[in-house]
Symmetry: D2
Subunit: 351 residues, 4 copies
């Protein structure tokens, strides 16, 4: 007998992404958390891995070792929040057994040829790369709705692509010399502790990292091309700032002559009209990552600078929600025909 | 015709407390926000006062000037999140017109005689003070269920009373020389900006304030006496630390001979068994305000120090949720016979 | 009789810039603080305006109203840390009376024609603009040494210009389409409190501001032209992040064909060889604003991205030291022939 | 030939305490850093261990393995900033070779009998415990001046003892039931990274730790007894708050009848009259740890609460300066007859 609720598995349940998936899915009317998989902390519960979730009905679920067969037996949808490289190995076995897979890592976001250069490994299941839908629901909803495998986008890529795609698509800005300057809080670095992620090292610290080789670079290029049909050239430089949640991308692109801030804003508003999770700010208003904290919302702001012939598009997301777990659930909602907004807050936690 | 949903008003809708009330009530299955009252920002909307709430269905509600008659006409329950002194003036008019009032200020928490000393005003409606239920649902649920007027407790008082009342009530600790050392984030100071609440002045700043005359002092004394029948003597010293949300009270009281940490912990667990929003930590575990952030949960930890004959009880709440808006909704749920947990998260936003 | 020590005045002594000037000058072997001028807080002392300076010998100096004649009578060097617009009015009177003026505002940094557009006022003393040395000691030391009036640069401009000038000057990068993405802590906003600078609004908040019209834009363009002889075109977008001190500029410019990271780094090292306050990081190392906090050091990092033909230069300063008070003292040291490093720390306060 | 400057060694040079010692000693007119000892990072330099110190003349000094004989050969004064247990093993060998030892760990602060209980080891050199001066210069200056071995106090103990000793000594407050509630930033936890010291876990987190068994408990008791001749009973509960530097102790003690805030304040002012690093606040003013950040100052505030018969004394220090490296240098200044304030700032870094 088919359960009334869709059974889901969360792999990587002990990390931040896994915790957010559990927190949000606990409130989903159509799903049931049927399996928690982890690499460490086996035998502990959701509550021991995430004490802040001790009050949830699912708090007592036990973290199990990950085995593709066991996972597929328990769950019709698998959210994989494992480190890069793991889902590429595990997903095929689960897909073949009929489970849908929504992968929060980078394992299904790029063409096979890009993996050695940007992720440092040869992709073990290249035949699945073409079948993976790229999971930005606002741009690729149709592909996602019919997909068994969804590559859930990176946080920076989500922000940058949502901001630029409609403007490139309309010809208002050029795709040939895009610079993306990213700023993120520390939660993107995960639970793992290193000297550089301590509070001591991070307070009052503003610092770039992985310049110029961050793996979201080709993802933004590919996402823009998928959305617009035009190849894009992107330089991406990310920075760590003393926040926990929040990603802001400030993108610079060549502006077509005569295009104004109002034109850019209008185009974005039109492109995302009726979409529940995109907030396009009126001219003059400025993005603030804090306003979207804890929500699945992206805030967008576009400015034309005729002086230098440049479009500046700023986007903010909560990297753990719209930039990871929330968008993954949004993708599942599309895959399974749920209300796209199910379990996903539009209101942030402020202040 | 009576609406299917209970109509509610939020007074002080432009402040942090008002914003949290709106955010949480938006998800309540049995209520409808029917009136937003404010002192400034009149004519603006919920979304202009709280841009992070722009995605809620109620985002377009307009902030109205406050008039007792108009409020009572629109709403069967009034949440008043106005500054001290305002509800004492407004509540009687709304109560007489049949509205229930849940007041988040200090205006109905003390006996009349205490107001000049601790709040600096003569109480204008002392006849209502005895009729007000003191709104700690875990201790005074019966009175609250039948009350038209609920004095929603202060954040520090909520934490300190929940931690101490069962231990004093059982005779394990004495009520005669209690010290409460409080630590709070900045959100308790509200939206108002002063040099001392800027980021510049607050980062890396640990500082006491209002020593030794904070107005929660007599409230803790009275709450403990209401709960235990024994007069209590409390010295309370609050401190600001560089956080936004979170209140922790560390309370010191004389320990009865022979009482152990296990005894204290067991008593708290027994007192709050089955209560959805109280988490009593096992011996050795330490409270963390971050784990309750965004939730209506209080975390409690009790330690016996036989060396000095002292009980240490530590409690943490999110001052804007269990310490204000969340507890107010919990009280309304009792007043109106809703599920006590309706609209109130048990899971915090972490990290 | 001429005093053995050079007498100095600090105007705007009650603000953050004034406080840093007093703190650093208190340790200067060749100067004596002879006058503290302020607009508010008149009659208070340095210690009441800056309680953290209560232990300095100068703590009891009284804040006086500002009058050009009185100031020039007391001091041979005037540091003006007043808001934009004030020094333009005051400086001529002090200069005519023989005092040297080091102005920390924007009042003498641009050509007269730029003031209405970028600062919103018609410059009242345009005849002094040409006589003002632009105070980046590492680039314009000779002019500064002989100047009576020094326009102390903006914090963002200091960082961006120091990073780019040698690379443009050598032809390694182009000056025609520069983008400067700035990130700053809150101390640049000064002591003044607004809702947006509270701790509550700033924690976990990443947000752009004044896009694309920040007044450092023309200053960077002009500074680069002064240093290289080539006109520059700059788009500058600043962001607030949850830090107190620290400015990081990430600059993007077109890279000449074949130029490598090693080339860029080598050029910077050569340009600043022997300069006490410039730290050029080796290839692969990343700038961190926290490492320069409290010091007069600028950290520089240059990266070539041949993929997109772009040079990325990242620079970090403490906006109140190398970005304001420290650089002002460095300029005074040059003007008066003191050791360039006198009173200026090279070691930051870490962590 | 005896060098003109006193040669000093820093053991534990790669940690935060070692970094602060190097930073401050670099500016000392009478000392020369002659040896840097470490346990890890051997072969690196001061600059690789502490990149923020790369501009100091000592930046190139190499970290050496620690050997008592080698250390004593190079240095007349040894600052040991090693973890608890290490100096107890090393110090005797260095002392026997004629070096003075200033130990920043807990190894020489307690009687031998206390080590198993509070530090978990049997003291290996109990014969040295009586010879160690307890290094609070404001209270035990005479003993320190003649000592070869100084036990530099803990940060919490420094704050609590300086606040209470004069009041107990004068009979204004009792020593029999003291509660010390401590709050600290994360830098006291050192450079080591654990999940609980990450930025992610620490932002917005207020949490007690080691209740009620923190090892500063017996140190405060002993320090008070040494200073006043009266045994003291102390319960100490420390808390972590989201700051880097700063320790605040809020101490509660029984107040003698009739004693006022003015009496307490007056007594403290008298006790510390003329001392360069003690700032006693006037009645009504509140301590702020940020004001002493980066300085060697302790801020003190005393309040009488006649309602409950309690004295509240609040003290703040920078745990890495007056609570560690700064006080260690102050002790060395006394041992070697330097100006007590040499190399020690009274002005904090604010904001």
């Amino acid at each position: 007998m088919i359960p009334k609720r869709v059974t889901v598995a969360i792999l990587g349940a002990s990390g931040y992404g896994g915790g957010e998936l559990a927190r949000l899915l606990s409130g989903h009317p159509g799903t049931e958390i049927a399996f928690l998989g982890a690499r460490g902390s086996i035998g502990g519960t959701l509550a021991t891995a995430h004490p802040h979730l001790a009050g949830l009905p699912e708090a007592g679920l036990v973290l199990e070792p990950i085995d593709a067969e066991a996972v597929a037996e328990h769950a019709r949808v698998v959210f994989s929040a494992l480190p890069h490289g793991a889902a590429a190995e595990l997903a095929p076995g689960m897909l073949q057994r009929g489970a849908a897979v929504i992968d929060l890592s980078g394992d299904f976001r790029l063409p096979a040829a890009a993996y050695p250069e940007w992720y440092g490994f040869e992709h073990p299941a290249p035949e699945w790369l073409d079948k993976a839908a790229y999971g930005v629901p606002e741009l690729f909803g149709d592909q996602i709705a019919g997909a068994a495998l969804v590559a859930n986008p990176g946080c920076y890529a989500t922000a940058a692509i949502l901001g630029l795609a409609p403007l490139i698509g309309s010809g208002m800005v050029e795709s040939s010399a895009i610079r993306v300057d990213g700023k993120t809080g520390l939660s993107g670095a995960g639970k793992g502790a290193t000297e550089s992620t301590t509070f001591n090292a991070s307070e009052d610290s503003i610092r770039p990292y992985r310049v110029p080789r961050h793996q979201h670079t080709p993802e933004i290029e590919r996402g823009l091309e998928l959305a617009t049909g035009t190849p894009a050239s992107v330089l991406f430089v990310p920075h760590l700032v003393p926040a926990v949640r929040g990603v802001v991308t400030t993108t610079y692109a060549k502006l077509d002559a005569g295009i104004t801030t109002e034109d850019l804003t209008g185009r974005l508003q039109e492109a995302y009209a009726g979409r529940p999770f995109v907030r396009v700010l009126p001219p003059g208003a400025m993005v603030d990552s804090k306003r979207v904290r804890g929500s699945n919302v992206v805030e967008l702001q576009a400015v034309a600078d005729p002086r230098t012939g440049t479009a500046v598009v700023v986007a903010a997301v909560d990297n753990l929600v719209k930039g990871a777990a929330g968008q993954a659930i949004q993708n599942m909602n599309l895959v399974h025909g749920f209300d796209e907004s199910a379990a996903l807050p539009t209101a942030g936690l402020y202040p």
